[in-house]
Symmetry: C4
Subunit: 213 residues, 4 copies
Amino acid sequence: MVPEIGDSVSKARIEALTDGVFAIVMTLLVLDIVVPHLSHSEASTELVKRLLGLWPTFLGYASSFIILGFFWIGHDSQFHYIKRVNRTLLWITIFYLMFIALIPFSTSLLGVYQDQQISVIIYGANLTISLCWNYLHWWYATKDHRSVDSDLDPILITVLSRRYLVGIIIFLVAIAISFVNIHLSLVLYIGAPLYYLIPVQKHKSWTWFTKNK
Amino acid sequence: MVPEIGDSVSKARIEALTDGVFAIVMTLLVLDIVVPHLSHSEASTELVKRLLGLWPTFLGYASSFIILGFFWIGHDSQFHYIKRVNRTLLWITIFYLMFIALIPFSTSLLGVYQDQQISVIIYGANLTISLCWNYLHWWYATKDHRSVDSDLDPILITVLSRRYLVGIIIFLVAIAISFVNIHLSLVLYIGAPLYYLIPVQKHKSWTWFTKNK
Amino acid sequence: MVPEIGDSVSKARIEALTDGVFAIVMTLLVLDIVVPHLSHSEASTELVKRLLGLWPTFLGYASSFIILGFFWIGHDSQFHYIKRVNRTLLWITIFYLMFIALIPFSTSLLGVYQDQQISVIIYGANLTISLCWNYLHWWYATKDHRSVDSDLDPILITVLSRRYLVGIIIFLVAIAISFVNIHLSLVLYIGAPLYYLIPVQKHKSWTWFTKNK
Amino acid sequence: MVPEIGDSVSKARIEALTDGVFAIVMTLLVLDIVVPHLSHSEASTELVKRLLGLWPTFLGYASSFIILGFFWIGHDSQFHYIKRVNRTLLWITIFYLMFIALIPFSTSLLGVYQDQQISVIIYGANLTISLCWNYLHWWYATKDHRSVDSDLDPILITVLSRRYLVGIIIFLVAIAISFVNIHLSLVLYIGAPLYYLIPVQKHKSWTWFTKNK
C-alpha cells in the first residue's frame, strides 16, 4: 500500500523553524539602534545628548521585543495542546512567520517616523495580521478537535480563542484611535499585551461561554 | 576493531542546520525592505507614496518567503522517509543550502531591477538549481533504497521524484519565457508552487508510472 | 475538568530560543568589523596599517564573545537544575535576552568611542543588567524550591547565587571606576569573567554560608 | 551531599549553539554579495557586466560555504564519539566558534582585496586557527579517553588527530606560499578540503602509526 504522502509534518521541526525565526527577529531589532557618527571633538560634548535622543528607538526595541515575547508564548501554548501537524497548519505557521518577520521593518519605520500616522497604522496592522494568523491556527487546529486530543475541554479551546479575539479587537481599536490621536494609539499598542497577563478565570469563563453559546 | 570512521552523520543535526539556515534566510529577506529616508517636512506628504512605491519589494519578500516555505516542506518530507544520512547526502544538503542562502541576493536583485531580464533569469536559475539539488538528494537517498526503509513503496519514491522534476521543468520554462515576456515569467515563478498544492493522486500516478517504466 | 491553562512552558523551546539568540548575537558581533575601503593604489601601502588600526574592534569582538560565553554557561547551568518552567520564569528569560541582544550595540558603541566614559558606562550597565536578570531567574526558580527538585541542596543554591552577586558587584565597581580611569574600568570588564573560572570550593562555602545565614 | 557543581555541560545545547552559529555564519556570507547600484538607463547595458564582475565575491561565497561545511562535519564527527562535555571542552568550542564567526569578515576582506597578500594571509590564518581549536578539542577530549568511551579504539583517535594535523600543515604551507605567489596560495585553500574527501584507509594507517609511535 502507498503510505499517505506528505501530509503529516514534523512538529519538532516546525517548532525549530519558529524558534529560529523568533530568535533572529528579536535579535535583528538591535540593528536598528545605530551608533551615532560623530567626530572626535564632537563626541566629548555631543555623544550623551545623541544617545539620549535615541530613546524612541530604544522604546521601539523594547516594545517589539516584549510583543514578540507574547507572540512566542502564544505559539508555544498552542503547540502544548496540538498533537499532530498537517500541511494546512504548517502553511498557516509560514504565513504567520511571514508577518512576524516583518516586525523589524514596522518597528524601524515607527522609530524613524513616530509622528506619522501611516507608521502607526502599519505597525498596528502588522501586529493585528500576525495575531489573526495565530487565531486562525488555533481555530483550524481545534475545529472538530482536528489536531488536538479528542478529550481536550471545549471550554479551554473557547477561552484561548477569545483571548486571541480580544487582542485583535484591542489592536483594531488602537489603529482606529490613530485617526484621532497617534500617541494614544501607541500607548494602546504597548499596553495591549498587558491583557494577556490577566490569568484565565475558569468559572467565570465557563458561565460566560454557556451564556453565549 | 576500528569502528567505521565518520561516514554516518547525525540526522538531527542536519535538520537543525537546515532549519537554522531557512529561518535566517527567511528573516534576512526583510532587510531588503528599507525604510525610506525623508526629511521631517517631506515625510508628511511623501511617506505614504514612498511606502506604496515599495510594493515590488514587498511582493518579492512574500513570494520568496512562500517559495522558501515550499522548499522547507520538501526537505521535511524527504527526511520523513530518510532513516540514515551519510556523508554524500550531507554534502548534497550543504550545496542545496548554499543555493537556498543565495535567495536573499536574487530576491534583492529582482526587487531593484524587476524590469531587467538578467535579474529574472538569475532568480529563476537560483530556484531551479536549488530544486535540482533537492531532487538529487531524493534520488541518491532512494537509489537501491540506500537511505530509506527497504520496504518503502517504489511508487511513492517515483511520485515524489516526479514532483521535483515537474517543478524543475516549470522553472526552466519560466526562464525560457523571460526571453519573450519578463512579466509572464515572473507570474510563472509565483504560480509554480501552486503545483505542489495539488494532492497526490495515487491510482492515477500508479497507471502513469507502470505505463512509462 | 479544565486543564491548567498555559502556565507551564516547554523547557526545550526556551532553551532553543535562548541558544538561537546567543548564536545570533555572537555572530552579529562580526558585522562590526568592517572591511576598510581603499582605492587600488592605496591598498598596497595602507591596508595593513588600516587593519592593524582595527585592533580595538577586534578586542571588543573577542571580549564580548567571551563574556557571552560566560552568560551562556550561566543559563545552561541554571537549566541543569531547573525542572519546570512557568510563565514568570519565561518572562525573566525574555527580559534577560532583551539585554543580551543589546550587547552588539554596546560593543559597537565602545568600539567607536572607546575613549568616552558614556560608552564605558553603557557597556558596563548592559552587562550588569543582564547579570541581574540572570540572578533574578535563579532566585525565583529556587525560592521555596519552586522550579528545582525539592531535594536540591540549599548550599548549592546559595553558592550559585553568590557567584551572580559577586559578578554584579565587580561590574558595578568597574562602572564606578570609569569616573576615575576609563582604561582601568575596561580592564576590569575583561577581567571580571576570570572570577567564574575559580572552581567552587565546597567546604569553604559551606562554612561561609552557615556563618552568614 | 553537595552535587558536583556545574562542570558537566549539556551536549545537546552545545550542539544547538554550534549549529546556530554555523547556520548564521553560512547565511551571513550572502550579505557580502551586494546588488550593484545603477541608474535605470545604465542598468540595461551595464547590469550583466557588473554582475559578471562579482565573480570573485561569488567564488569567495562558495569556497567559504564549502569550507564551513567541512568544519561543521568535523565538529559533528567529534561529537559522534564524545559522550560527556565538561567546561574546558565547552570553552574550546566557544573559542573555536569565535574564529568560525570571523570567517565572513576574512571572506569579505579577501573578496575586496584578493590581490593583496595580507588578505590572503588573514583568510588562511583564520582557517588555520579554527582548525587548531578543532584539533585541540579532539586532543583534549580523547586524552586518557577523558570524554569518549573507554574502549574507543586508540587508532581511530590517532587517525582523526592526524587528519586535523595534515589540514593545519596544508593551510600553513598555503600561507607560506602567499609570499611567493598569491594565486597559488588561494588555489591551495580551495583545494585543501579535498584532502578530507579521501576515505580513511584502516590498515595503512595502522601500519603508519605502529611505525611512528
